[in-house]
């Protein structure tokens, strides 16, 4: 087990090296640089431009800039944002709880609805229910996130007036110091009446928007995995024991069917964080995604590089955890 973990960790090292290189180069391939982005159309005195470039180290050859960056990274230094002059890691850690809160809610939404929907569709295969679940899943998977988000805002917020349009909190009515960075928890801790329900109300639409694609993927995966498992001999054995259909499907079949689903859930964390970029922008959600988009338009190289590195590290870490989970739920690997 320990050997397995170490091997998986070792495998992630080349990924990180490639990642450092690709983000560094890609960020610089975007036309313009941080200073041009800040001066805009006003233009800038060439001497001042050269001085600022020198100050940021942008006058160095790119290979040297890269080596300096790698050297700093290896010392745990993600650099300082060009725009805000605060350390990138510090900014990231302030914003990340918002993204994590949204991503976790979306994941829970996707799993809690997707797994039962897939199981029901498989058990009632060929029925109207099955066809409807699969049709909705296909539609959900195909829907562009930004369009789906706008549709929901128009219907739920504008037309029905049920949910807030954007943001994490109703800041006019409530203000409290962040303790954990998670609005659901902080609003409860604040003890203010209605703060928690306001936080929940703000979360509903972003959760649905971000969770739709994982929901569709999980429902389809659960269904096909379940269909395969339901035809297995051991499911027949379970039925031959006279067990209730709930136990046969919910325990004997589902336990096996979930093995590939867990892998898919792990892969969806990447989708969730990528989707968070769009979702946060649509809902003005003050998280890492929105911050990255802003960093792109400001050509804030350290913030962009650091943000992408940190997010990638999280995706890799989550997949590592999923691999461990996989071992835990599949005895054939544990003893293999």
């Amino acid at each position: 087990m320990l050997k397995l973990i170490l091997r998986r960790v070792a495998l992630t090292l080349p990924t990180f090296v490639a990642l450092m290189f690709v983000t560094f180069v890609a960020v610089r391939l975007v036309p313009g640089d941080p200073i041009e982005a800040r001066t805009g159309e006003r233009g800038i005195d060439p001497e001042r431009l050269a001085a600022l470039r020198h100050e940021l180290g942008l006058d160095q050859p790119v290979w040297k800039q890269f080596l300096d960056y790698v050297y700093a990274l290896l010392h745990g230094d993600f650099g300082v944002s060009i725009v805000t002059k605060t350390p990138v890691l510090h900014e990231f850690l302030i914003l990340f709880p918002a993204t994590l809160e949204l991503a976790l809610c979306a994941l829970v939404f996707a799993v809690v609805l997707g797994v039962p929907a897939g199981v029901l569709a498989a058990v009632k295969r060929g029925s109207v229910l099955d066809h409807s679940v699969m049709a909705v899943a296909l539609a959900g998977y195909s829907m562009p996130i930004f369009w789906w988000g706008l549709l929901l805002i128009m219907f739920m917020s504008e037309y029905l007036g049920l949910t807030p349009v954007s943001g994490r909190m109703d800041l006019i009515n409530y203000y409290f110091e962040p303790v954990t960075g998670f609005m659901l928890i902080d609003s409860l801790l604040s003890g203010e009446d209605g703060a928690f329900s306001a936080a929940v109300a703000h979360l509903i639409l972003p959760t649905i928007v971000l969770g739709t694609i994982p929901l569709a993927v999980i429902a389809r995966m659960t269904r096909s995995s379940m269909l395969e498992v339901l035809g297995e001999d051991y499911v027949r054995t379970a039925r031959a024991k006279g067990l209730s259909p709930l136990r046969v499907v919910g325990l004997h079949a589902l336990r096996n069917a979930l093995i590939p689903v867990v892998t898919v859930v792990g892969l969806q964390t990447g989708t969730l964080l990528a989707g968070a970029v769009l979702t946060e922008t649509i809902f003005a959600w003050p998280g890492v995604g929105k911050w990255l988009i802003e960093s792109i338009s400001r050509r804030d190289y350290p913030a962009l590089q650091g943000g992408i590195m940190l997010i990638s590290a999280i995706v890799i870490l989550v997949n590592l955890i999923v691999d461990m989970l996989y071992v835990a739920i599949n005895p054939r690997i544990r003893h293999g």
Binding site: Y234, R236, G242, L243, R255, N256, H335
Partner: protein
């Protein structure tokens, strides 16, 4: 004799892409308490499907009809699914052909054995554990406490089948249906598993329906034999009578194909294969392969003969190997 299991006119039809397929066609079966009845026939003759129908384990595309399906004084056809589940797994158990895939890979052997007891018997957790140990000892598995904690992939095929047998015995059933329990195993293990099954059957007095295509096994073990062909029951006799004087030409051909009865260098065989959905003959289903077939056999479905002729489904049942012309036409 009050039959433990009594079936009349059992038919099973599968809805397939090319139309309905009748896998089991008007089959009768009686099993007395403690009796060992064998069902023999080639692959595809509907032996397993008929027994899965009794267990209620067929997939949803199957339609089961029968005039009677009584088990232990209860009408299986009239029971609700919930009531039927109280019988299946407790009084009526089944052992399958593929032991390796019949155990759930995600749960330990012990969990799977105790599960049936938890569902049907009023035993405490400790009692179930003790009974599980006892059962593994009974089926000849060494170190039962340790084996109970094992996962199925850690067991060999023979070991898995022993576990399946232990599982079937867990609730002291009245009837066990064993569906080719040794087919998937190594030849050396086959005899062990079969001996075990027969020993346990004798000791516990449980009724046993043994589905097999091994005539040698039938001769040694069964009290009565049903011969199935293409979903139909072509003959039923007590074992001694069947081997001495088979009345259906198919039974006769099966017995003639036994290696130990071979004369010369070539093993005798029955030419042709079991008819499928597309090429079912109009008359007797065995007529294309039968060396006694007449024009009537090819066009008119055969009548069922009396008990003295082994209920043979034949126009010209054999007596001492000679076809008997019958006066009545069907």
């Amino acid at each position: 004799m009050t039959a433990l299991l009594s079936i009349r006119n059992l038919s099973v039809t599968f809805a397939t892409g090319r139309g309905p397929f009748r896998a089991v066609d008007k089959v009768d079966l009686d099993v007395a308490p403690g009796e060992l009845v064998a069902i023999v026939g080639e692959s595809g003759s509907g032996k397993s499907v008929a027994m899965l129908a009794v267990m209620g384990l067929l997939p949803w595309i199957a339609t089961v009809t029968a005039d009677r399906m009584m088990f232990d004084g209860r009408d299986l056809l009239a029971l609700s699914a919930r009531e039927r589940r109280k019988i299946v797994g407790r009084d009526l158990a089944m052992i399958f052909q593929e032991p390796m895939s019949s155990l759930n890979p995600c749960f330990t052997v012990g969990f799977q054995i105790r599960e049936a007891m938890a569902a049907h018997l009023d035993l405490s957790r400790a009692q179930r554990q003790a009974r599980a140990v006892e059962l593994l000892e009974l089926v000849g598995i060494p170190e039962p406490e340790r084996r109970l904690k094992a996962f199925p992939h850690q067991l060999s095929g023979g070991m898995s089948q022993r576990v399946m047998i232990a599982m079937a015995l867990a609730c002291n059933p009245k009837l066990i249906i064993a569906d080719e329990p040794t087919t998937a195993l190594d030849v050396t293990i086959q005899a062990q598993i079969l001996d075990l099954l027969l020993k346990l059957q004798k000791e516990s007095g449980v009724g046993l329906v043994l589905i097999t295509h091994d005539m040698g096994v039938v001769a040694e073990t069964a009290q009565r034999v049903c011969v199935h062909y293409a979903g139909q029951q072509v003959e039923m006799q007590d074992t001694r009578g069947l081997f001495r004087d088979p009345h259906h030409p198919y039974t006769a051909a099966l017995l003639a194909a036994l290696p130990e009865r071979a004369q010369g260098r070539l093993l005798p065989s029955i030419p042709g294969i079991v008819p499928g959905l597309a090429d079912r003959p109009a008359g007797c289903l065995f007529s294309p392969r039968c060396r006694f077939a007449t024009e009537t056999c090819r066009t008119v479905p055969p009548p069922r003969a009396g008990a003295e002729l082994g209920l043979a489904l034949c126009h010209t049942p054999l007596i001492a190997g000679v076809p008997q012309r019958r006066e009545f036409a069907a």
